[in-house]
Symmetry: C2
Subunit: 79 residues, 2 copies
């Protein structure tokens, strides 16, 4: 089972990486860029056919390892 | 308009970051993790209501700045 987890910074957390990308795009002439926020993306292949079990594992992994829940949010996508 | 771009390493490109995450998960006791690949995620807010124009800009940005097309692929998602 292939599952992806997207980790993004919470709304009120400053994102210097995103700011740099935004500024670079502006310097390249893209004037209509309003905001850029950068995050992480994980593609996980799991030996587990039961979706409920898989969800449990991925939730656990996301909270314990992939995300710093103080400043980040995560979204889980099934493929 | 909010658009997200996910950048992942091509299939045959080694992903040391993903390997470390995978090994860490195994060490934490998650035996059924088959593979982990890590990528980047960009959330872009664009002052552009026409979807065709937005697509054109985002495609350009993805190729010129966000992605190293030699070793990476990108996927565009509209929200």
């Amino acid at each position: 089972m292939k599952i992806s987890v997207t980790v993004t910074l919470k709304k009120d957390v400053l994102d210097p990486q995103g700011k740099v990308v935004k500024q670079t795009l502006k310097n390249m002439g893209y004037a209509n860029i309003e905001d850029v926020r950068q995050g992480k993306y994980f593609e996980i292949e799991l030996k587990e056919n039961d979706k409920a079990n898989a969800t449990k594992i991925i939730e656990e992994i996301s909270k314990k390892l992939l995300t710093n829940t103080v400043i980040e949010n995560y979204t889980i996508n099934y493929k």
